[in-house]
Every structure is written in structure tokens, then in C-alpha cells.
């Protein structure tokens, strides 16, 4: 796709006017000679800044989609007959649809969100129960699912997140190193973790279809 974009960029330069060249073609050439030039790259401070992993972001400076669209139109509008111009534009749009990687197909199951926050419904239920049940204003909660922990931070700041069930919290020795967690949320199928929690004096007080909430005996 990038090669096609580059070809269309060149078309934009050849068939487009001064404005198209200034907007798309010459900036691309200048960036190609500097940022995207492997001989110049080492002398930039990108490595020192630790931005090598984000280097792909520099490609955003090249407006590929805008330039590609402009290139197609520059070619299409050179024809005086409107039906030829329309056919080229429609064919380009069809090519984008058939040969692209659509956002829609990247998600196997598209579901309407159940709440305006687009938060997982189960997480909302779990957090609601914890905050209703908790005597503390800011309970310490450990989530087995990392996505729940991440989303809980965004959903309710009153809930403090513990790393108990992450690799860090366990420290790799198979045991759990508790830090006074008020609640521990695990999946229904997590039998080993459930045994460890019971040995540590935790018991289950509530569950959702996919998760269980444990609290300490005291």
C-alpha cells in the first residue's frame, strides 16, 4: 500500500499543480532525505531519546492517504469527459474497499456498547459491588485479568489496583505476596489461584458469570 501511495505521490507531483507539489511531494522528498535516510538517522537524537520503538510515527508526517487521494483526483480531472473522471474515482474507492484491511473486519464480534462509557459490563458490575460492599473509601483490589485492572483505573479512581496477581506481585515463586488486599477478583476457572487464596485466608463472597470476588476472613 505504501508503494502504491508513493506512486500516487509522484503522480500528484507530475499532474498536480504547484500547490500539490508543495503540500505533498517536496515535504516527502525532504523527509526522505533526512528522517527516513539511514545514513542521517544515526546522527539524529532519536536513539538517545529512546524513541526507536516509536519511529514508525514519523511516517505520519507523510500524508499518504491525502496525497494518494489528491493524486487520483489529479489524474481523474485531466479528462474532459465527466464519466471517465467519475469512473476513475469510483474505481479507486472500490480498490481501497476491496484491497484494504478494514477496521470493521479487524474485530470478529462487533457489539454495541452496553453503556456510554464503552466499559466492560462485567467490570462495571464488579466495581459497583466492591464500592457498595467496601467499608474503606479507597479499597485495594487485585484483578487477575490485566485488562480489568487497566480499565478499572479509568472507570473508578477510588479503587486502588494491586499487582498481586501479576508476575511482579507473585515474584515468580508460584506464591502470592499479599499487601493487604481488600478484594481479589479471579476468573471462574482459576482453580490454582483459588486454592492459594483459600490457604491465605480469603473466601468468596460474590460472583458474576465469569468472575469471583474474594475477601480476607477478617
Amino acid at each position: 500500500m505504501m508503494y502504491a501511495g508513493a506512486v500516487l505521490l509522484i503522480l500528484a507531483a507530475v499532474f498536480g499543480g504547484r500547490k500539490m507539489r508543495c503540500a505533498f511531494f517536496w515535504p516527502f522528498i525532504l523527509l526522505a532525505l533526512t528522517v527516513f535516510n539511514p545514513y542521517v538517522f544515526p546522527i539524529l537524537f532519536i536513539e538517545q531519546q529512546g524513541l526507536v520503538a516509536q519511529y514508525y510515527s514519523f511516517l505520519w508526517a507523510v500524508p499518504v492517504l491525502l496525497a494518494a487521494s489528491a493524486g487520483v483526483l489529479a489524474v481523474a480531472f485531466r479528462f474532459k469527459k465527466r464519466w471517465i473522471s467519475a469512473a476513475i474515482i469510483i474505481a479507486s474507492a472500490a480498490a481501497a474497499i476491496f484491497f484494504g484491511t478494514p477496521e470493521v473486519s479487524s474485530y470478529v464480534d462487533i457489539m454495541l456498547p452496553v453503556n456510554a462509557m464503552k466499559a466492560d459490563a462485567e467490570l462495571v458490575t464488579l466495581c459497583g459491588y466492591i464500592m457498595d460492599h467496601s467499608l474503606s473509601e479507597s479499597p485495594l483490589v487485585a484483578f487477575e485479568r490485566a485488562d480489568f485492572a487497566e480499565e478499572a483505573m479509568a472507570y473508578d479512581a477510588a479503587i486502588r489496583i494491586s499487582g498481586l496477581l501479576t508476575e511482579e506481585g507473585g515474584e515468580g515463586d508460584g506464591g502470592l505476596h499479599f499487601q493487604g488486599e481488600d478484594y481479589v477478583v479471579i476468573g471462574m476457572g482459576s482453580k490454582e489461584t483459588e486454592e492459594l487464596l483459600k490457604e491465605a485466608g480469603y473466601h468468596s463472597i460474590a460472583h458474576t458469570p465469569d468472575s469471583r470476588i474474594f475477601v480476607p476472613e477478617s
Partner: protein, 351 residues
């Protein structure tokens, strides 16, 4: 509140945000004196002005140790003053002078274009499943609202923050959204994942439309065709190398706004300068856009240095105005200062 009422409230908030950007755009518009203003360009200019203003106010608020409530009063007051000034300066042309004519294009095609745009926004705002919060932006907003501070409570652990890294200190674009949440009562997740994502998509489309409009000699049908192609390609090409990949997966993030809005607005600004090299307002907008880049994302500060040079140099050569070269250091000075600060400092104390 039911889902429908929440969604309606979110749509109303999005409309109000665009109105705020439109009014703020009158402070530093793209159009030179006497030129007819464009609605889309005014909204894009207002987005940049608002982002920069909130960034400056936020940095002042952090250094002065203001609570979020006090900061909200301060920011709302300053924004209202700027909006009032904009209305006074631009009245009555602020509504009459903006061009909204369809100019020789079939209504059915406009309708199709509106449908394409609306479907993109609807996809972003309603259907797209949650894609996490990798930069913890929303978590920071929630934490700030809970603790009534600006960045002093770490999300997750709840510990007091005494020092932050330079990128986190300066990337404060989300404080406008925190301000909106404080005023409207919207949850930060709704504000970012629904409202902000849709507004970013709309701004991106506005910038793209105006770029095509200026390139194709102010022809509305050609600009509309260009926007249609760009929207179609954006929806159907999902790669990390094009802004659309970020826009349609994490449209609320600063990186998405930088790639999809600020960089196209940079191209739009150089096109405006190409048409009229003496347009001081567009030059001023280009200069303050550097600060907007820092506010949106730290990587944006680095990219901005190269992007602004790459875009301004051809305009200088084409218009034969070497004085435009001064725009490069003027626009790059703030991003460069932040980068130098990051190289020399590990952390900046905040408490």
C-alpha cells in the same frame, strides 16, 4: 441515565465543543483581513488555540499547586474571555461571513458525503469496542477528578506524585476534556471514547476537506470527491503507518489528534501561506501549533521539528519569500526546548 440519554448528552457535548472551537477560531483565524472565513478552517484554528491556551493554563496551575476546581474556574473564565473577544472582534461576520455554500455540487452527493462522515463517527463513537487505555490518559483524568488535583495522584496506586517525567509534564491535552467532565459531569471514559474520538474524526475530515479545497482551486465538488476518497481509504486501510490506524483504534489519544488533525492542519497552513505569503494570522497559527504538538504528545514534539521544516521550505522556495524561513525556528522553539529539557532532566517536581 439510560444509554440513549447518555448518548444524547454525549452528542450535545460534542456539538458544544465544536462550537467552542469555532468561536475560539475567531481569535487567530486562517483568513487574512478582508478574506472570507471558512467554517472548517475556523474550527481547526480554534482547536489549536484552545489546546495551546489550556496547556499554558495547566502548566501555570501545576506550578501554583491549584486544585482542579480552581483550575476549572480559571480555565473557564479565560476561555470565556477569549470567546467573548472573538465574538466582539468578528461580529457580525462570525456567522454571516463564513462560507457554507455548496457551490455547484449535487445535494445527493453532499448527502452521501455526510452519510460517510456520520458513519465514520458512529463507528468510532458507538460500535468500536473498547481498546484499552495504554497511555493511561483516561485513568489520569479519572484520578484528577477524584482527587481534585492536577496530576498529583498516581492512577491505580493512589500515591501522591511528587515528580513526573518531562513528557508527562508537558503532554496535557486531556485537561480540556477534564474541564469538560468537571463542568458537564460526563464520565472521562464517555468524554474520551465517545466525544473526543468523534470530535477528532470530524476535525480531521474538516482539515482534509479544506486541503483539497485549496489544492483544487476552491472547487467544492473536487474537494468533496477528495474527502470521500480520503475517508474511504482511511476506513479501509488500517496500518500503524497511516494516521487512520490510530484514529480508528484510539481516536481519543493525543497521538491520534496529532497525526489526524495537527499534521493536516500544518499542510493546510502552508497552503494558506502559499496563497498569501503575507498572511500574518496563518503564520501566527503555525507558530503556536508547535506548542499544540507538545501538548498532544511528546513524540509529536520530535516529529514537528522535521515536519514543519519539510513543509515550510518548499513554500519559501515557491513563493520566493525567504522571510517565511523564520517560521521554522519560531514554530520549533517550544518543541525543541521540551526535547532538550527531557535530555537533561529526569523528572520535574510537581508538589
Amino acid at each position: 441515565m439510560t444509554l440513549v440519554s447518555q448518548a444524547s448528552y454525549a452528542v450535545l457535548t460534542a456539538a458544544c465543543e465544536l462550537l467552542v472551537y469555532f468561536i475560539m477560531g475567531g481569535v487567530v483565524p486562517f483568513a487574512a483581513r478582508g478574506e472570507q472565513k471558512s467554517f472548517a478552517e475556523t474550527v481547526c484554528a480554534g482547536y489549536i488555540v484552545t489546546t495551546v491556551l489550556v496547556e499554558i493554563l495547566c502548566l501555570i496551575g501545576i506550578r501554583q499547586g491549584l486544585s482542579l476546581t480552581l483550575f476549572s474556574y480559571l480555565a473557564a473564565t479565560v476561555l470565556c474571555i477569549f470567546m467573548a473577544s472573538s465574538i466582539v472582534l468578528n461580529f457580525p461576520s462570525v456567522f454571516r461571513g463564513t462560507s457554507a455554500a455548496s457551490g455547484g455540487i449535487r445535494f445527493s452527493f453532499l448527502l452521501f458525503l455526510a452519510f460517510l462522515l456520520a458513519s465514520g463517527c458512529a463507528f468510532l463513537a458507538a460500535v468500536l469496542p473498547s481498546s484499552g487505555d495504554p497511555g493511561m490518559t483516561i485513568a489520569r483524568m479519572t484520578s484528577d477528578l477524584y482527587s481534585d488535583t492536577i496530576g498529583l495522584r498516581a492512577p491505580g496506586s493512589g500515591r501522591t506524585v511528587t515528580a513526573v517525567a518531562v513528557p508527562d509534564f508537558f503532554s496535557k491535552y486531556y485537561m480540556f476534556d477534564t474541564l469538560v467532565c468537571k463542568i458537564t459531569g460526563l464520565h472521562p471514559m464517555t468524554e474520551m471514547k465517545v466525544v473526543r474520538a468523534a470530535v477528532t474524526s470530524i476535525l480531521s475530515s474538516m482539515a482534509a476537506y479544506r486541503i483539497f479545497f485549496r489544492i483544487f482551486d476552491r472547487s467544492v465538488p473536487k474537494a468533496a470527491c477528495g474527502l470521500m476518497l480520503a475517508l474511504t481509504a482511511g476506513l479501509f486501510f488500517r496500518t500503524p503507518y497511516t494516521p487512520s490506524g490510530m484514529l480508528y483504534s484510539q481516536g481519543w489519544t493525543g497521538q491520534a489528534a496529532f497525526a489526524s488533525v495537527l499534521l493536516p492542519v500544518l499542510i493546510l497552513t502552508v497552503l494558506v501561506l502559499l496563497d498569501n505569503p503575507g498572511n500574518g494570522r496563518a503564520a501566527a497559527l503555525l507558530i503556536i501549533s508547535g506548542t499544540a504538538a507538545v501538548s498532544l504528545t511528546f513524540i509529536g514534539a520530535v516529529i514537528w521539528l522535521f515536519a514543519v521544516a519539510a513543509c515550510v521550505l518548499p513554500v519559501c522556495a515557491a513563493s520566493k519569500k525567504p522571510v517565511l524561513l523564520l517560521l521554522i525556528p519560531a514554530s520549533a522553539i517550544i518543541p525543541a526546548a521540551v526535547i532538550i529539557m527531557d535530555l537533561n532532566l529526569n523528572l520535574i517536581p510537581v508538589a
